[in-house]
């Protein structure tokens, strides 16, 4: 399990007060984890802060699952 995934999961669990078992790579923030639109904005901002990357709005729209976030961040960080 990548370091990025663990850090993303930690943020998601904390931000959405989600059951850790449900926060898998395939889990959708909105459909599986009960996030609303404001939560997704907060998540993106938390990712930006944690990884010191900028996530533009058009990219943020496509980050719908835990795996999407990990993939985007890893690409940004060149990992």
């Amino acid at each position: 399990m990548s370091d990025t995934l663990e850090r993303v999961r930690k943020i998601v669990i904390e931000q959405l007060d989600a059951d850790p078992d449900k926060v898998t790579e395939k889990a959708s923030f909105i459909d599986d984890l009960g996030a609303d639109s404001l939560d997704t904005v907060e998540l993106v901002m938390a990712f930006e802060e944690e990884f010191d990357v900028e996530i533009p709005d058009d990219a943020a729209e496509h980050i719908q699952t835990v795996g999407d976030a990990v993939k985007f961040i890893d690409e940004k960080l060149g990992a």
């Binding site: 609303d36 404001l38 907060e42 901002m45």
Partner: protein, 246 residues
């Protein structure tokens, strides 16, 4: 009722009549108050008067960087996250539209409205995480009624009202309320310079028959800051002796 113990509040324009009254009132209800303004000596004096639970952070609202950093600076001096933001600072540059310079329009919009955007954007992040917060914009009766010679000022104040309603809808589910207070004519150094004729003309439009006081605006700020006002959001509370009934 209206106990603010344990809360941290930032009041901009605290060196002015209304801002000072708001800061004193929030402090009297138990809040830790961070005073902000441009004049450090006046801020230090008010801080000394309030004693415990008071700090100050100098900021120049015409400087975007200074405004962007103010919430963080206030939290640093208070040692606690911000629960209450009272955006009270404002300026006027009156004149009839036909003679109004670009600079007079832009500076009023920048200091009154753009700084409200910057301050609330900074404040709301932490409030979202904590699932609670109070944002109060001090606007003006002329933002709703208009006033000749104040196109710039009334545009900025009406802008604050529309802005607050939109933000109230964005963050309502997170326990954050966003409201405005719209003072009418309040006794201040600005109204002290009016001559008797001007004064009578103003008083003739006010059913209460007198100017308001800063304390009467401060009481509205205390209410909107309180836990008791949790179900009041997106509103404008008019405190004007009845001069406009909206």
């Amino acid at each position: 009722m209206f106990n603010l113990s344990g809360k941290t509040a930032l009041v901009t324009g605290a060196t002015g009549g209304i801002g000072g009254a708001v800061a004193r009132a929030l402090h009297a209800q138990g809040a830790h108050v961070v005073l902000s303004g441009t004049r450090e000596a006046v801020l230090a004096e008010l801080q000394a008067e309030l004693g415990d639970r008071a700090s100050y952070a100098v900021a120049n609202l015409s400087d975007p960087d200074s405004v962007d950093g103010l919430v963080a600076a206030a939290e640093a001096v208070a040692g606690n996250p911000l629960d209450i933001l009272v955006a009270n600072a404002g300026i006027t540059k009156d004149g009839l539209l036909m003679r109004m310079k670009d600079e007079d329009f832009q500076s009023v919009i920048q200091i009154n409205l753009e700084s409200y955007f910057r301050l609330t954007r900074a404040a709301v992040k932490g409030m979202m995480k904590r699932r609670s917060g109070r944002i109060i914009g001090v606007t003006s009766v002329v933002g709703v009624t208009g006033n000749p010679g104040q196109t710039n000022y009334s545009a900025s104040k009406a802008g604050m009202i529309g802005f607050s309603k939109s933000l109230a809808q964005e963050v309502g589910s997170r326990g954050i309320t966003v409201n405005c207070i719209a003072p009418g004519f309040i006794a201040s150094p600005m109204t002290d310079v009016l001559n008797e004729q001007q004064r009578d003309a103003i008083l003739g439009r006010i059913p209460a028959g007198r100017l308001g006081s800063g304390d009467e605006i401060a009481a509205a700020a205390v209410y909107l800051s309180s836990n008791e006002a949790a179900y009041v959001t997106g509103q404008t509370l008019h405190v004007n002796g009845g001069m406009a009934m909206i």
